[in-house]
Symmetry: C2
Subunit: 311 residues, 2 copies
Amino acid sequence: MITVLAGGVGAARMLAGLMQVTDPSELTAIVNTGDDLVLHGLEISPDLDTVTYTLAGAIDPERGWGLAGETWQAMTTLGRYGGENWFNLGDQDLGTHLYRTARRHAGATLTEVTAEIAAAWGLGLRLLPMTDDVVRTMVTVEDEGEIGFQQYFVGRQHAVAIESVRFDGVESCAPGPDVLAALAEAETVVIAPSNPIVSIGPVLAVPGIRSALEKRRDDVVAVSPIIAGAALKGPADAMLAALGHESSAVGIARIYAEVAGTLVIDEADAHLAAAIEAEGVRCVVAPTIMSTPERSASLGRIVLDSIGSPA
Amino acid sequence: MITVLAGGVGAARMLAGLMQVTDPSELTAIVNTGDDLVLHGLEISPDLDTVTYTLAGAIDPERGWGLAGETWQAMTTLGRYGGENWFNLGDQDLGTHLYRTARRHAGATLTEVTAEIAAAWGLGLRLLPMTDDVVRTMVTVEDEGEIGFQQYFVGRQHAVAIESVRFDGVESCAPGPDVLAALAEAETVVIAPSNPIVSIGPVLAVPGIRSALEKRRDDVVAVSPIIAGAALKGPADAMLAALGHESSAVGIARIYAEVAGTLVIDEADAHLAAAIEAEGVRCVVAPTIMSTPERSASLGRIVLDSIGSPA
């Protein structure tokens, strides 16, 4: 069994790759829910939906989020009223939020609803929210103070300087019912190339998860989301720098050093391998840009082979 | 000033007619909210929306409810999950429910949100929900027991026999903030040709409304929703019969006798005028089928002229 700590887009591609090289029924993803929000009364789980839609082959390939063939009629009406429409909700996508909200109001846990949605899309792997409790990633930004993650990420298009990040509610949350077992039983744990601060950070902050990884650090492999100093997508690079980390594969190695014995970095960063090993982290160099299904599969194979093989 | 007690479709046409023959700023509608429901976490007010969309000229002319040019993508996704999709929510229409729900969660009253939505559609009249509190029309149907009004009306397509109707919460609700003033200040009060049991019934059951009408019964004119024994639309006729009323203009006269001094009936029922007057209700005979804007306007004129004029 393989268990993957996952954020959104990068994790979805990593999972798509792993599903090509291993039996999906042996694959579990523990997904960040710190980005979740309630908007217009609807319960929205962006990372869970991005992973689901991507693995279902239903994601919009150009936007990288939301469903292909999406329409925006509800947003147009909302705009007529001057409603809060900074967070775009497509008409098809709304059906997912309606379902999740109805089921949650009827007493189902997020773990249960997530499994139902994944089954409806025919996904063969297991998707687990990191927790069924409410955790909210809060970002303090210049001149404005603390705002919700989606207000920063979508509302401000992550174009404002950040000062700090915290995960509201995480200390008192419980890991989802199968989360710790999925970590204990996994042969290999993969940390997907997601934002280490706001995608993997909340997952590692859930009580019990970090220590579970520390205990079996040699079985944990992370994939660097930073290539040649930059994130392929999103604000990970600027965020690392703003929070005093080095925006490089070496910076990633330092962040994950206690939980991951191995780091897979891109060929463009091959010259950093020695510096990473100097941090006490085994280093594997590979093509990590998952621009096609074949490249995702190839990286998936390398990630699984990396554990226990020489650097 | 003219104040109209209103349900959905029939009331919307009556209001459209009145708006052609009087200054809309002098017109107030007190609208039934007993049909309201919370579905998938969204706050839905079917009668308020039908009135708003109709008066905005945006209603779907064939269905008679919802918006013209509607699409159903959210419902399709919801269907994929096996979600509760007996109550069709169009994509454009969803924007209205998202807005209402967001504003309600932010602390706005239904009266405030209704005014905002009406203003956004450019409506010149004032729309008042009968109450800002939760009132739910509950219907006991054969073999099944008590269900919500929309489950009966939409879910069962009002094809099941009803045994009783009650308005849950109505005894303890307060009339909307301007409702009693709108009744006290009106020169004429009109009871629209809506279902007397489940559209006008809840409005009259709101504390203070029935007695306000009784006090000035001579200024109140009702329009019969029953023509030649049948309702033009909906289950009013079957419902009247099931609940022991006569499904005729005479039956309507009896139901409204204490609150309305005048009843406008259709030409097809002219032979019932004497029987209606025998109930102590003045009777005006007119063409009441509002199949065109001209006919609505003509009926509006007749309704306003009916007060104080000889039968």
